[in-house]
Symmetry: D2
Subunit: 375 residues, 4 copies
């Protein structure tokens, strides 16, 4: 059986997922067969171009029709169009894969998670936290699950970019609260919150995040509109930080910025446990720095490209490094496999909602100037 895939969105994420799907047959021969069936968008010309380039059989400007017809629906549009089509698809029994953050508001995220629950376990609803699929992150997860870092005391996550540091960088939907929900917090922080939950969220590790204290800041209040003689207000954060208290006593700090001069896509996570520590940076995504107190005195820089490292046997021999886009191939492989077998996939809409709750609590904490519990 070939899965017919409908995809809403054809820009950055559209390309990343289309590429991932295209690469499955050669590298993951046991992945389900799929057809890039229909690409959904509003601008007919751009859509036709994209469909051609990204290898889609047809196009549609009406997602309402598509979500019924296809076997799988990918929602890769901007945040404010995540909820409605995703819910419609799930109501039609169509598995959904939605980009992160799950929604611009907690309410919308809640509704989406409810729709996913209603659709049932055999209709996977995935949330596209692709960094769970970095081999080095999976390797870290293995270490943590095996208890090699012991009790978790500290977690540190941050995601640094600098594309808004120039005050004349143009306004975009990402600067608008209506369209994006939040700024660095939602766009980057969602990734970090999920990564931290993935790595240490298990009950026998740090557990869930219990309380947060948040701090949001907008450094530049209005920005020029490209090609026009006007400015528009920036109604989202340019950067955020947060402190975390975890269920089992661990402490955490989170941070993201679009003003971190010189950092392009620097997503890092650091963990200290009673038996060891680890560090990861997305800009060196093939590497994991690990310190196991019983064996190491200092961090060991592990190149996670050995044959028995997660996903690596599908690719190249040791030392032949992978890139950012490979995370999408792994993610699509896992999601589409779950669709085929009608089984579970993680991260799912519950994970998306859990991240959203943390983000919402960070915003609320910033508003109220006090710690906020995560319900």
């Amino acid at each position: 059986m070939t899965l017919e895939v409908g995809v809403l969105g054809y820009r950055f994420m559209g390309k990343a997922h289309a590429n991932a799907m295209a690469r499955l047959p050669m590298f993951f021969p046991d992945a389900p067969e799929i057809e890039r069936s229909v690409l959904v968008g509003r601008d007919e010309e751009a859509l036709a171009d994209a469909a051609d380039r990204l290898g889609f059989a047809s196009v549609s400007t009406d997602w309402g029709e598509v979500v019924d017809d296809v076997d799988v629906f990918y929602n890769l549009g901007p945040n404010h169009v995540h909820a409605e089509p995703s819910i419609a698809a799930l109501e039609a029994g169509t598995p959904v894969f939605c980009e992160k953050p799950l929604a611009p508001t907690l309410e919308a995220a809640d509704a989406m998670a409810e729709a996913a629950r209603d659709a049932g376990d055999d209709v996977p609803a995935g949330c596209a936290f692709n960094y769970r699929f970095v081999p080095a992150i999976r390797y870290a997860k293995r270490l943590l699950e095996a208890g090699e870092l012991g009790e978790i005391h500290h977690v540190r996550g941050r995601y640094l970019q600098d594309w808004l540091v120039d005050p004349d960088a143009p306004w975009s939907w990402r600067n608008d609260e209506e369209l994006a929900g939040s700024g660095a917090l939602g766009d980057l922080g969602a990734h970090t919150v999920d990564l931290v939950r993935f790595l240490v969220g298990d009950d026998d590790l740090a557990g869930e995040m219990e309380r947060v204290s948040g701090h949001l800041q907008t450094f530049v209040d209005e920005r020029p509109v490209d090609g026009e003689d006007e400015t528009r207000p920036v109604t989202v954060d340019d950067a955020y930080s947060a402190q975390l208290a975890f269920e089992n006593g661990a402490m955490g700090t989170l941070e993201a910025s679009r003003f971190a001069t010189g950092h392009k896509n620097d997503h890092t996570v650091e963990i200290h446990g009673s038996e060891g520590s680890l560090r990861f940076s997305l800009e060196r995504l093939n590497e994991l720095e690990v310190l196991r107190a019983d064996e190491n005195r200092g961090y060991e820089t592990i190149l996670v490209t050995d044959e028995d490292d997660p996903y690596v046997d599908h690719w190249w021999p040791p030392g032949h490094v992978l890139g950012w886009e490979h995370t999408f191939v792994h993610e699509n492989y896992e999601f589409l496999s779950a669709v085929e077998r009608g089984g579970e996939f993680a991260p799912n809409f519950e994970d998306g909602l859990a991240a959203q709750r943390v983000l919402a609590a960070i915003e609320e904490s910033d508003d109220r100037g006090e710690w906020v519990s995560i319900s």
Copy 2:
């Protein structure tokens, strides 16, 4: 004229300062002549041994007599003996150099700063934040003062150690609130707060810290007493984190821990400004990583050992790295020179107090669960 120096304390800090004084003549020939005159302590035997080893002419068990007699008084004792002898010395018109944190409580620190103000500008009262005297930090300060990083948006400071991660590590005065005031917060955080103030505290940079949100945690509640069959409670924090809002809009995060497995003395600071970024780690104290947006795309690893780098011309040719202890030589040189000329020295008791205010606000914030203004 030879300055007679009296020193209270002969352990770690006693050795560090005695060594620094001993090295001045050969490397800083324009430093004032000094005599290591009298070493002050309680345990007569240990004191005699130490005086011999550290090159002191005499010993005393009564600091009250010493503070009058000497030309300069160094207070290197534990935190809870900082206030009384320092104030007595200042009241006697004797310049004082006191280890950090200035005092275990804000009240004590206040009293000390008042005593310093009363003593007048020609009686220097220094607070021993030695990391201001790392050549790479001075170099960073030069860059910042020259505006090379532009407007400051982000500051990140952390100080990681791991000597308490073992729950069986013995209890010491550093684990006791009465004796130490606080734990990682005071011991390590004081350094970080001062370093951040030193680097970006100027009005035309980030300015002073205005508000903080703090988080303290004690991971192990009681510890065995060395050589005895009992445990004592740990009444201070094992780790802290904080979020900062600066006067001019910059954001900051601070952190310290004695539970950061594998980190021995890892004091780092990172700054992002509109024109550039920098990073420093005490474990690589000869290096500064600098990114100037007009010249660099990535961080440049500068080995701060060139002839025209701060303090370096006193030592060795380029590439011949310095160590941790050299910061004490530079610090003593500056302080003793200030004493000789009856002039100002920074960091002084006002700086010590300013740091203390931040630490106190972090504790209060943690207690109250909300952001606290720094008065």
Copy 3:
């Protein structure tokens, strides 16, 4: 017009090139259209499997027929089958792309280069030195060509692997002089020699390599045959080193090993010129370390993923790192474009031959115990 491509070889390199071809339409829309037409091999079953997986329309066990029929011929077989089919293809006027090293012997390489010359400029004959197509290497090349490093004084290249350090690692064709020509020297050294030639071989930089002194070593003399109760002799080098004298006075050292414990695919190059220095490592292939004496004091770690960096605009936004396999996409793009327009492509068979001359001189130097001129 669609170019029909025939490919001999379906293992590691077969997969790398098939993947590269498959990715062209989505990322390099101006690349010529191609069909993966016929896959050539000896083992019919394995061949059928591979053709299916790698997306080839048909298979053949007779390269003789194929080289005439197709529009382009890729020779990705082991070294000892490089010469005959490549020459046959060129004699038939079919453009050839041949894996490196060009041939197991200098004689064979010479014959291949002659065939390429006879075929004429409109029949590209490419040699697959894929590391020329790493964006960071192209970026380095731009700097060098612009004279930013000044006069070249030192070049250092090395390629470290460790897959033979275990004396029980099984014998393979790569350990046999008849089949492979040489060991680390040909397999790894060919890459390094070409990379060095590419970067500094221009007349106004270091110029060509003039003289070499070589050193070859075999650490383990015989190895077990997999699944059999016998050993076979290792008749090639496990490691080599060389010293180089360049035309314009620069010095160089080269090295490669299959015994460098812990190094998987560590190909590095370092260059010092009168105005600057640079360093590159394949295991961090998105990064280039650059020191320009007029701007830098230390090396700047450049993440070569900006939009205007070589090839990057075809892929993802800044900071989204590429992997090893992308070098093949770039290489195939350039080669196939050259085929389409009937124009030149570099590195070509002359470059393959030039590298071979250096390798042969290194071997001869090792035999004779003296420096050898490269004719």
Copy 4:
């Protein structure tokens, strides 16, 4: 008993050793008591100044008198004055500590080693290869001696500086064959050869260096004389490289340069054995990178500042880094202790001679264009 020390030379090395001696009492209380008794030089005024600054009791312009009078003689003059005074001291039964390289020519080094042998085992004759006394190097030595790296296959040493890359950098005695013997080869290469011998020279490791192939190069043939309107010829090498064959089959490469733009004092050594690898750089002298194949997959960055690390218990707590000058303190401690007990010290004149033999063979090899055996 107090050892009276006479020192010839009061510039860079004079200061380094005087400082080392001055620091012994505080940090190495079991070191012999010494008096910095007499400082020897030619320029009376400079000498008097230096004696004052460096803490010497008296001065002399006649080394002939001094070598008899003192208990220990330090020869820290330029290379061409190493032989005569050192031999005279040894003939007088006075222990000698001589800077490296031992002598400008192999003949002179031979004569010095013979004088040391004649003086007998109770008259230590030390050669000042101070890098043997870096804690991280001692730590590496421990690992190697314990067999943790297994059989040695590869050794790589290089020493990079850049102070001559400017063609207008002034002529000095270091550019003159008569006065210095050789250039980068003797000045820097002597250190590297000794470090390699120290680390892997044992019989059960790589053993001695057996054969070398050398390459010397002078990039700038004449240089201006400071303050004068003339140039003088450069008659030594600006850089050298060498290939090594060791007794037990290991291969090595060596390199040094004064033209490595951006490198100030970058002395590195890298070793690959069958069970592990290690790397060291003098510019990060507190760190050792170690890979033990049974425990590590990647290099572990060890901060060699723990209490049980070599020499560290004399200094500061873990993580409080040492500097370049500490190597001199350790070296002086070991040498003066040997003098006191009338026992052996290494590295001695035999080690100095052994290094000299390798350097001479490298020069001879470069002259003859062929490999040269080290007798």
